[in-house]
Symmetry: C2
Subunit: 113 residues, 2 copies
DNA sequence: TTGACGCATGCCCATATAGGCATACGATGG
DNA sequence: CCATCGTATGCCTATATGGGCATGCGTCAA
């Protein structure tokens, strides 16, 4: 089996850096495809494809505005990701400070020999 | 170009549900591969492969313990993900409540016709 | 030394990208 | 009705997966 579709959920959709960039830009407000493409230095088809993925997982909304199509942020889908990672907060603060200290000790001991 | 490697960063590594499951299990403490595989109902090779990915992005540490190899959580890599998504917090709380109301209005209007 | 146990790997498959390029499509202006 | 602008798609390629299965390898017990 291949990797899960990027459109399967927000976790997969935001795995791609450029899509994250797009989402960040959209925090400033709605924007047409061409705008985004230019600002991020990517071709228009590329931007459209990324936006499609984002739209399919519901991270982005689009609406027609004359000849243009404006894309806007719908960040609700990011909440599950934030909450899931939040479940590990105490672990990145706590236990590994000690572990690091331990590792440092080992290194120093090695260099002193 | 193909999709970025799952080992390129935490964002990619946690896009796979089974790897998230493994991380969750490891919050309870170190565990050998077989244990994890059984608990998650996956084959041993499969678990090993997922653990390898997690190890390569630094979300997991391993240490030998006799015949066994214990895997332990290193959640620090999840922090960037948590913080990045956190940058959208105000958006999923705020603006789209209004947008939803708007959408609901449209739907109702449509059904009443 | 010989087994057995616990894991990591190698190899093969089917699948789904991300990107480039050309092009089809819908709306607007003449 | 036609040309043009703004986008979305189709097609093709190279790549990397996730999974199955068999097997290599290191460690410990007898």
């Amino acid at each position: 089996m291949a990797r899960a579709a990027t459109t399967s959920d927000a976790f997969n959709a935001i795995a791609e850096p450029q899509r994250r960039d797009i989402l960040v830009l959209l925090r400033a407000g709605e924007r047409p495809v061409t705008d985004l493409a230019q600002e991020l230095g990517m071709t228009q088809p590329r931007a459209s494809k990324h936006l499609r993925v984002l739209r399919e997982v519901g991270l982005v909304r689009d609406r027609k505005a004359g000849k243009q199509r404006l894309y806007g942020l719908d960040a609700r889908g990011l909440r599950p990701v934030h909450e899931w990672t939040g479940g590990f907060e105490r672990f990145w603060n706590e236990s590994f400070d000690r572990l690091d200290a331990y590792v440092q000790d080992l290194k120093q001991a090695g260099q002193e020999e």
